[in-house]
Symmetry: C2
Subunit: 396 residues, 2 copies
């Protein structure tokens, strides 16, 4: 800060831009194939259907006005009906709260649920958007590793047995970002039981649940306990620029979030919320649209995983391509993915090194690959380049 | 909270919904004329022009994607050009940050500028959206009264002379909400000088500056010092549901706000930001549109003030109808506006009692009237009803 300006708040001292965002700035080179991003494919977004919905929305001038802080009523009703089906109970609109993307729900919840110093349990590797928010809230953060069935509940039980009492346990239940895995039905039930037994909240982030490739995702953790606050979003199935996410939570939590939303930004956009409601309520169209996204992402995911396994064989362990947007790769041969990155960029391919997502586990030998925005041939070429870079590093 | 649920954060204990929001819930009766609201008139919002811009935006799929946290580049460029004209210097895009309405700018700035316990000086009566945010940030709040020329700088100088050292002074410089007054050019210069002399930030909220009725608003406070962070918005001149506000601030402040915006909600909507950029860049159309809004609001404002003065004579002192959306009325005859309200509601008219905006001054005998959403005849009828209620209370 220039000496001429008044000071900024001290809490900013430790705050840094995420390593991933900084990396993404390096990967906009035209000749680079980036598997580092985390964006859905804009080519698959339903532009024409959104244009029709925008036109319909703009025929009513009230869609230009401020809307209610918890969200535009008819959107909350559509969401309540969808979630009633998912959760197997009638979800009242009072338990639906619309946010500016589900990141805003995380941010407001961190203020609603966490006193400074409260313990938050996250997964390792972690969704960094959640990590950033919990750290900013002054929480104490402990991580529980993932395995092929999602969060390792044996590790969580150990923490609880040692006397730790989390205020919140955060999980990305389906097709984890970055870990690629899905929490098994047995663990969902057990996690919900632990939440009730020990009196903690579960935040279940579920942006990817509808993007399954072979079989639908299991019933949400929220189907097993009212202690679960479930988050999802239109960003991955419709379009991120709608900035529409939502939270399903006990009415008391929704009321507390409403008070904070008023100060944070008053309300969302009645325009993009009506567009979203229109598309979500058009169930035949939506089913066909989401099916086509699943088809394309599924093909890409399989192409990527097949190429990785073909090229690297037993030198790597890769997650299956079961859904979502990401594959997680562990190098069994000890390759340091941070050291590999400059060679990979030289060879024309980018990824995110595992340690960018690490909380307390060492992910030096891991990487996250995103398969959403490249076709199968390009993904094959990306893995060829990665293999070339890997060989060059191995030769050194 | 039900005993079965885990606890919520203790910081929520003192948090309450604003009295004004609660009042507004009472004023949706169809037979009631409400001067209590604070909304622009949806009938004047440029629906057709927005529909054209939405169509154009949706022809580019990248408008469906996530955008940069500081805002969509071309919108920042349009804003930089506009603000360069207003501030009389070349404003670089690094000093422009787009927010989800200017309320979000206030909220993020409270985290960027304020350590817990820091002193914030606000105006009395205060813009309650700012007050709510500064209180939530744990600031110590002191108020300086308004007079016909805006914030009373003699009172601010007294505070400074007594050794008070604010981190932030907040002002609504043009057509104050709720006070109706405009900070004089002489005071703008002096306030800017004090900011540099004593090393504090000024937050200049300016949502209404373009809504002048007889003559343009004076040059912004930000024209006098780089210590000023200037906020404005598309909500009052275009449409609130775009949820587009903006901040003009030193690049260091913008960078700090960017770090917090990433955690708060990642980014705004590329769709509504392109719509906004399109409309703001269409300067001939915009000038004609804003002129027509000024014309309508100006006519309504004059009708309201004339009716108040005709009905109440020297029993009231009303601000002039110079711009913005509000008129502030002080009862010289000692009428308690909180006590009057039930009678007024019975007579079919609503307003906001002055004490809803009070920080440390007594505004028992004041009220805020909003003239934007009723035509001249309806405003006259509203004042008739108010006079009827006033007579009934005076008879008791």
């Amino acid at each position: 800060m220039s000496a001429n300006f008044p000071p900024l708040a001290r809490r900013l001292d430790g705050l840094q831009s995420s390593a991933i965002r900084d990396l993404l700035k390096l990967t906009s080179r035209a000749d680079l194939i980036s598997l580092a991003g985390g964006l859905p494919d804009a080519e698959l977004m339903p532009r024409d259907r959104i244009a029709v919905a925008a036109d319909a929305a703009l025929s009513d001038r009230s869609r230009l006005q401020y809307t209610e802080s918890p969200g535009w009523g008819p959107l909350r009703e559509v969401l309540a009906a969808r979630e009633s089906g998912r959760l197997g109970r009638g979800v009242p609109v009072e338990e639906i709260f619309v946010t500016h993307g589900s990141q805003q729900a995380l941010s407001l919840l961190s203020e609603v649920l966490l006193d400074p110093g409260a313990l938050v349990v996250v997964e390792d590797p972690a969704y960094v958007g959640a990590l950033q928010v919990f750290r900013a809230a002054g929480a104490r953060i402990t991580a529980v590793p993932l395995d092929a069935d999602g969060m390792r509940l044996d590790a969580l039980r150990e923490l609880l047995a040692a006397g730790e009492r989390p205020a919140v346990v955060h999980t990305v239940s389906n097709f984890h970002n970055p870990g690629g895995v899905t929490l098994s039905p047995e663990r969902r039930r057990e996690l919900a039981n632990l939440a009730e037994q020990y009196g903690f909240w579960i935040i279940e982030g579920d942006p990817y649940g509808e993007l399954w490739f072979d079989r639908p995702a299991p019933a949400p953790v929220a189907a097993y306990s009212p202690n679960v606050i479930r988050l999802s979003s239109a960003s991955k199935i419709l379009a991120p620029s709608l900035r529409v996410g939502w939270m399903i939570a006990p009415a008391q939590v929704c009321r507390a979030v409403e008070l904070l939303k008023q100060g944070a930004d008053l309300c969302g956009s009645a325009l993009t919320q009506q567009i979203t409601a229109d598309l979500l309520a058009d169930t035949d169209w939506l089913a066909a649209h989401v099916d086509s996204v699943r088809q394309v992402y599924g093909d890409r995911a399989r192409a990527l995983v097949d190429a990785v396994r073909a090229r690297f064989g037993d030198r790597v362990i890769s997650t299956d391509a079961a859904g979502g947007m990401f594959v997680w790769v562990d190098f069994a041969d000890g390759t340091d993915t941070q050291a590999l990155l400059p060679q990979a960029l030289d060879a024309g391919v980018a990824y995110v090194p595992g340690n960018a997502f690490a909380v307390s586990t060492d992910y030096t030998r891991s990487m996250r690959l995103c398969f959403t925005t490249s076709d199968a041939a390009t993904l094959g070429e990306a893995v060829d380049r990665l293999s070339e870079a890997h060989a060059a590093v191995a030769r050194v």
